[in-house]
Each structure stands twice: as structure tokens, then as C-alpha cells.
């Protein structure tokens, strides 16, 4: 729209970064049949790989002013300046896939209208 507008809402864009995938990929351990030291090691490497991806996303988001907090087994990255669509587009442009993160957007009245 070309008309000037007055934003009537504040927003919080939240990127959820699960430290461990949900569901946890235990099948890595049992893929070859019974568990073995090697399959558990592969599982550990997979988790480390995931942690590395999360860390990389955090670095990318930190560059755009996101702040972080830990909640249960996930990192929450919050911004009150970057819009949700832009945040998603940005992460995709940085080489991340959209199944690696989750975007939440919450609006609130800027002042106490109706």
C-alpha cells in the first residue's frame, strides 16, 4: 500500500532454535540393528552438528540485533525491530533451511485501543 500509515502495534519476532531435534533422532543409534559404540558416537556427532548449526544461526541473528535466552532445550532469539518475514528471508539467504528453525510473531497494541 502506498498510503502513509501509523503503526498501531508493537511486535516481537521470535526465532526458536531447538538444540536437539524434535523428535530426538535415536534411530541413528539403532539404524544398524543393536546399539554399538560407533552408533552412539555417530549420534553424538549428529548432536554436535545440530549444535553447530544453532550456533551459526545465532551468530547470523546476533548480527541483526537479536537477543537470546535459553528455555528448556531450545534457544529463543528475540527481536523487536526485525519483522518476522524479513527474519525468515534473512536466515534462508544465509544458507539455513526453514525446517531448522521456527518463527513466531506476536503483536501487541501500541497503546490501549479497544
Amino acid at each position: 500500500m502506498s498510503e502513509p500509515y501509523k503503526p498501531m502495534v508493537n511486535h516481537l519476532t521470535r526465532i526458536i532454535l531447538n538444540l536437539v531435534e524434535d523428535p530426538v533422532p535415536y534411530d541413528i543409534i539403532t539404524r544398524q540393528g543393536t546399539p554399538s559404540p560407533g552408533s552412539v558416537r555417530s549420534f553424538g556427532e549428529h548432536l554436535a552438528g545440530r549444535a553447530g548449526r544453532v550456533a551459526a544461526m545465532m551468530e547470523a541473528l546476533a548480527a541483526r540485533g537479536f537477543v537470546f535466552k535459553l528455555e528448556k532445550n531450545r534457544v529463543l532469539a528475540d527481536s523487536e525491530t526485525m519483522e518476522a518475514q524479513d527474519a525468515k528471508r534473512y536466515l534462508l539467504s544465509q544458507g539455513f533451511a526453514d525446517n531448522e528453525f521456527q518463527v513466531l510473531l506476536e503483536y501487541a497494541r501500541k497503546w490501549d485501543v479497544l
Partner: protein, 449 residues
Amino acid sequence: MAGAPQSALPWYEREDTWAIIIGLGLTFLITIAFFAGGMGFFKTMAVSISSWEFGKMDKLWVSLGKSTTGMIYLFVFFMAAFCVAAKTMKLNVGNYAAGFTVLFIISLFITALGGNGTLKWFQLETPVLALLFGMLVSNLVTLPGWFKSALKTEFYVKTGIVLMGATLPFTIILQAGPMAMLQATIVAATTFFSIFFAATKLFGLDPRFGACLGAGGSICGVSGAIAIGGACRAEKEHVSVAISLVIVWAVVMVVLLPIWCKALGMDAGPAGAWIGTSEFADAAGFAAAANMGDERAIKTFTLMKVVGRDMFVGIWALMVAYLSVTVWEKKDGNGNGKERVDIGEIWRRFPKFVIGFFVASIFTTILIASVAPKVGAAYSKDALGVIKTLRGWTFTWTFLSIGFTTRFRELTATGWKPFAAFTIGVLINVPLGYWLSNHVFVDYWLNVK
């Protein structure tokens, strides 16, 4: 709390939490006082001003004189409760207290005026007077910041709705609730999709914008537009336009719906149901229902709006979030539709104050059922009577706050396309709501006493 998205706040700093604490706390305190035989304080606090006429002002002066102590109690009690809430919600308590003092004084003045017989004849009851007075002042004068900090429309209406729960027997909710949900679903779905398709197919607007407009016009007004706007990641601009349209149409309907209900000779029950179906915002709807001057209208309004419509915003949010990720964003090239949408969306967008409404209703219903019939009748008359009056005061502060915060020059320029799409929804919603309330489901609404 306005201004900060609720997810960013701990539970104890959220507006809904405090509306529940104050509403349920008051209900429990009054119940304890009733059974302890000490209702004096609360009865005095339940100020109610008598009707009066312009040439016979004596009645008004006598009524005001008798209520002086009650007004002080009322002021002190709510000032204390709201200030504790304001402090925890990290508002400036000094500003809030100053603002609430002025709001309270104005509410006394408006309530007294609303008791005038001539004004009542012109349909100018307290709710509409409060709204008009607030709008007149706020659109002519720039309000000081300290006063604005007390204009907590949502906070007051949520507190009032929890108190409403205490006075609405849960048996009525169980009996009429499914009908309210059915009627609300018919109207909400019809209106939502009318606005959505008008916006996207007729006027070529972005589907997320269409969803925001549809939610504002069908689910629960501003709260609906905000919840759905968040769920489908609509732009700030889209949400702002939807809010502006909701406000404009809600204000129009506050005035028109009660007039139409009376002109069409509708009974209070179906009238409240119609208002609950066709008014766009909770607070504005309460003003319209209260303007009917009959408790049954408020009850059926609450059943329709709170039980039938507000409760389901989370489900709508989940559907829209899923559509947004898998269809709309994918089409825009923003992802390949594999982003996870979890079912927690329903709870995240659920209006939590509704829990307080149900708890209050269940509590008083079980209590009345478990005591001797005589005691139950006395509790309904004395304790619930007081709650009803106090609820009326929270609504008066709500109506004033709506008026004072509806500053038309601060609304977003909407453009003709969103306006036209929303108006198509209004033109479908209002007659459909009337037909369902006054014909299809009329027997149910007439039976709500």
C-alpha cells in the same frame, strides 16, 4: 499490558493474569465476607445511583449523599488493587494512580448522568454516554500522558468479564454454550471467508492482509486481528489497518445495534446474542449490550462473544499459521513450506482471562448448589448482587477508556480496498447475526434468564 508482546513477559507481569487475580480475588473475598456475616464493607462499596429527572434533582442529591462512603470505599479498593497490578506490570504507578483518580471521578459523573430519565429516553445510557464523552474529549483535546496511562481498556474489560463469570451460572454456559458456539461458528466462518475472499480475489490484497481483516471482522475484533496477524506473520501495516477498521465499525455498531434491537422490538436475550454475534470487539460489545438496560442482554452477549467467539481464536490462529507457512510463504519463495507449525499455537493465542471467567462461574455455581436453597438464594441476592454492581463499574471504566483512546486522527489510513472488503463482511455479518439470533436460535436465547 499494552505496548509489550505478552510472550516477552513473565506470567505475573501479564494483563490477563492480573484481570484473573482481581476478578477471582474479589469473588472469593465477597464469598468469605458473606459466609462470615460481614458484607457491610462490600455492600457499601457497591454504589448504585438512582434514576432522576431534570426538574427533580433532589433524588439525585439524596442518592449521591447516601453513597459518599461507598464511593470512597469503591475508589480505595480498586485503586489499591489496580496499583498493585500496575506496579507488577512495571507501569509508572504514580501516573497510573493520578490517571485512575480522574477516570474514577469522571465515571461517577457519567454514571449519575446516565441515570437521567430524559437521556435514557434518547438511548443515552451510561455506556454510550461514557463512550461519547471520552471520544469527544480525546478528539478535541490532547490528553496528558499520566492520564493515558490509566486508560486500560482491555484490562478493565477482562476484569469485568471474570466478574461476569461469577454471576453467570455454569449451567447456563453448559446449556447455551454449544448453541453459542454453533451460531458463532456459522457467522465467524461466513464473515471471515467473505472478507478474506473479497480482499484477495476482488481487490487483490495479500492473503495475510485478508486474513487479518477477516479475523478482525469475524473472530474477536482487535484481539483477533492481532492474534491472526501474528500467526500468519502479516506485516505491521496490515495489522494496523485491520485494527483501525475494527475500531471504526465497532464504534458505529455500539450506537446502531442497540437502536436497531429496540426499533425491531427484540427481546433482551436475542438482542444480546445479536450484539455478541455482530459487534466487533468485546469492550464495545459490552457497551452495546449494557445499553439495552437488561441483564439478559449482557448474559447472552457474553455467551456469544466470550464462549462462542473469543475462545476459538487459537484454533483459527493454528489454521492460518499452517496456511501461511505451507501455501502463502511458499508461493512467495520464502521457504519451502517445511517450517514446523506446532499445536502450541492454540494455547499461545488463547485469551487466558477466559479461564478466570470459567473458574468464577464454576465456583459460584458449585457453591450455590452445595448450600441450603435459602442460603443459596441469599448468596445470589447479596453476594452476587454486589459483584454485579462492581462489575458494572469496571465496565464503565472500560467504556470511558474506549472513548478516550479512540482518537480518530491516530487511526491508520486504511485505503479504500481494505475498507470495502471489511464492509462487505459487515453487510453479511449484521443481517446474518440478526436472522440467527432472532429466528433460527431464538428459543435458546429467549430461555436464558
